[in-house]
Symmetry: C2
Subunit: 502 residues, 2 copies
């Protein structure tokens, strides 16, 4: 009798403890959510607030109490860390953030991301991710439909476009020679990948990682607008063959990183068919145009390619990361290429249809359910509003280009084809310097100084880079529907304010 009483008392105490802890936990989460809503959502997207509160690494180390100690800290201290982390982070969702190929805040996909974080799970099996498995499948089918693969296809979401591009290289290699999966490349003929000089560096990183080697990525020339030159592609294919190498894959780019150029897919597809090469399209940036009746012509011919990488976390504003790799294949190539059939995870004696277990299509084991974020956003906005996001971004970029042309202190690098607007700011002191190396040398130093000033002021963020033989220029990327014409006018005014003394 005594024993039972003791056990019961312990149980009650245990339950009371648990309940007390649960209340503290709830209270903490509640407070933290308030901070997130106030600081990371409202203030972060408020045009009257700074886009960044710049501190050098040395200063920031002093401001943040970074050290990890033996003893835990109070709720109020932890909440202060949350506030500080937000305060000193760059507000990529701010209407004046144009620094990257992502920007803006979509509330639906953001909420979707909170849900996937709270319901922490992995997409390897239907068993632990039933809802997200079906949503990924739905989304992939819809995207395949938009690409125009009438006979269907397959796909998977990956942590980023680089991974998606690497999947393309691996699948192309697998199709060329499935044995490489087992025996490696040691006895293989030298394999060659072809991509344009404007293509993303992940193709090169992928070639290094996959044991193909960066030198076996043959760089095809692009024209002045940044588009791959089909005849140059064919020459490089012939060159590789004449060397005894095996070209097996072409990477075309839909929306290059700097200029936003679209390679001519139709003509490249003709060449790939002629030489039996896998054609992959890196549409990480430009894939969004498929949403737009007005602009999808930029990707004309994409229904003919073998695979596509398409990031939803760029122009479609899903929080990082949300990247789809899509493949026009109905023979389970993705599964065959990547499977390892781990028996502890992919048991075949389960009580449901194990073809829903998609994990063995991936080179990862745990894989986040990124698709849900975009699925929820699509539900909320519908295809129509997704289309409007894209149309608006491109229209705004064109408006900005027109404004640039009107102002003598600015010069377009190239007429924009998509939503990248590349331009120089020419400070008054430079206007009289004649065109030539001296002027270009001086111009090269302008953007970095203006950039430093804008960041220290916190008024806006825009990327810059040199490119080919061109000195440093600004690359504006317009994405968020929250960006107004006023914001774009502000950008030009502000650059002039910051740089007119240079």
């Amino acid at each position: 009798m005594n024993k039972i009483v003791v056990v019961t008392t312990l149980n009650i105490r245990y339950i009371v403890d648990i309940l007390r802890e649960m209340n503290a936990t709830e209270s903490f989460i509640h407070h933290a959510m308030e901070i997130i809503l106030e600081d990371a959502v409202k203030k972060a997207t408020d045009v009257r607030e700074k886009v960044c509160e710049w501190r050098s690494p040395e200063q920031l180390k002093e401001l943040l109490d970074l050290e990890l100690r033996d003893k835990g800290e109070s709720e109020s201290r932890v909440l202060q860390y949350c506030r500080d982390a937000i305060k000193y982070s760059v507000k990529t969702t701010h209407p004046r953030f144009f620094n990257q190929l992502y920007a803006g805040m979509d509330p639906y996909s953001m909420v979707g991301s909170f849900i996937t974080e709270a319901i922490t799970t992995s997409l390897y099996t239907y068993e632990v991710a039933p809802v997200f498995t079906l949503m990924e499948d739905t989304l992939l089918r819809k995207m395949i439909e938009m690409i125009g693969w009438d006979e269907g296809g397959d796909g998977i979401f990956n942590p980023g476009g680089s991974m998606s591009n690497m999947y393309a290289v691996n699948l192309a290699r697998y199709r060329y020679c499935p044995d490489i999966k087992e025996v490696g490349l040691f006895a293989a003929k030298r394999l060659v990948i072809l991509t344009s000089q404007e293509g993303h560096y992940s193709i090169s990183k992928g070639a290094a990682l996959l044991g193909i080697g960066t030198k076996n990525v043959y760089i095809v020339s692009s024209d002045k607008r940044g588009k791959m030159i089909p005849s140059a592609l064919e020459e490089k294919i012939k060159l590789a063959k004449s060397e005894g190498a095996v070209p097996f894959m072409v990477n075309a780019t839909a929306g290059t990183t700097v200029l936003g150029a679209f390679d001519p897919i139709e003509e490249i597809a003709d060449i790939c068919e002629k030489y039996n090469l896998w054609l992959h399209v890196d549409a990480c940036w430009g894939g969004a145009a498929l949403m737009s009746k007005k602009h999808k012509h930029l990707l004309k011919g994409i229904h003919r390619v073998n695979s596509v990488a398409w990031n939803l976390h760029k122009m479609l504003m899903v929080p990082l990361q949300c990247s789809a790799f899509l493949v026009r294949d109905k023979t389970s190539l993705l599964q065959h290429c990547h499977s390892a059939r781990a028996t502890y995870l992919f048991q075949q004696d389960k009580f449901y249809d194990v073809s829903y277990d998609t994990g063995d299509k991936s080179v990862q084991c745990g894989r986040k359910p990124d698709a849900f974020k975009f699925w929820l956003m699509w539900k909320a906005l519908g295809t129509t509003q997704l289309e409007q996001i894209v149309d608006r971004a491109i229209a705004m970029a064109r408006y900005l280009a027109q404004e640039i042309k009107k102002r003598e202190e600015f010069q377009l690098v190239i007429e924009p084809e998509y939503s990248n607007v590349c331009f120089w700011y020419i400070p008054p002191s430079l206007r009289s310097v004649p065109h030539g190396p001296e002027r270009w040398k001086k111009l090269h130093t302008v953007a970095p100084v203006v950039k430093e000033r804008m960041m220290k002021k916190g008024s806006m963020m825009i990327g810059y880079q040199a490119h080919g033989d061109k000195p440093n220029f600004f690359r504006m990327v317009v994405i968020s529907p929250q960006v107004s014409r006023e914001d774009l006018n502000f950008v030009l005014d502000e650059i002039h304010n910051l740089g007119q003394d240079l």
Copy 2:
């Protein structure tokens, strides 16, 4: 004059529109956060609720309105989708979820994950991720200290342990022959990786992806407890050499997936030193023991290895994903091995110390700031409470093993070394069947049926698998501090309830 008035009216209208939209957005986020707190946090972790609301793929497709349409849907519909997504998802944070190597809910890292999602950014440059860059650095240093690399090291967070293990293969290969990055493997001698039969399948997937080939992963035998046999390792190294191949890397495992076994690192390190091989430790699961003074002996010798993969999203309960790859190297091997020096991102004429731009250490381009989640959790709990999580999980696993030994209807597969508890349930009908193939064949069918019943009931989730010559057994993994002895007793009672008629 007229023109100015029109523009001003438009501006006011625009601002009113924006404000109205902002209010709607806020209201949506607010409601969604309430749902998350109520359904995905409180209910999901409440032991009185179901761990899963099982539906077959076909049923679930009917329940969820998956189709993506042209037209967007109302806020109330979208909120209902959120509720449904949570409702039909598996509650991996529930005290009765023991199915995977992750479980439980830590409020601090969860809140950290919400912040990184709201402040959507990428870790490539200090410029766009100043706070998270410094926090990643702090965390990596601290983890390096715990490993015991007195002279420091380097590291990076990756989307999952498989990626971290692949980084190890790539770095080991780069150290063996840096030229492979450029020229590929075509002229290289056949490379060989060694890992134990209990090692994770990501080594094999990595070998396939990296062009080394799955056949060039030599499998070293393990002993009965699941630990790599050092003499067998040396034999396999000699075998590879005798074939003219080049063994270049050994993968030891600290905490194997199924049995939770720890390879003897000291003895393996002796062999790796003798043959000049890169020694990587896949401590994705077992790394947590480094937090515990009582249990860190399990990884004795880890200070001698070249690299370590350590997942914080497993026993340390950070929401997926949070995986560190750590390397004992002070020569920027990580940078040299992976860099592509993209000029649009890693400009050298920036106004701050660009050594803080860590992006070129990665094979990714965009990379999530996963480190923040764990940094915030560590701040809140301190090393002391992180240690308690680990100690408690292992203590609970030992308690469960003792209970299993007390019950005639259960049988341990192996005495647990870590927090995996592997056991058979022997239904009454089987107890009289003599030991031998017939009994094992019948036993093999028990776990899948019990599993099906527990999921359909929603009372708990535990993994099972066959392993080597052993028929299907349950693998309980105890992680969450929320799990009580009562929960563990319940597990055994419930299996018996569900399976006693078999």
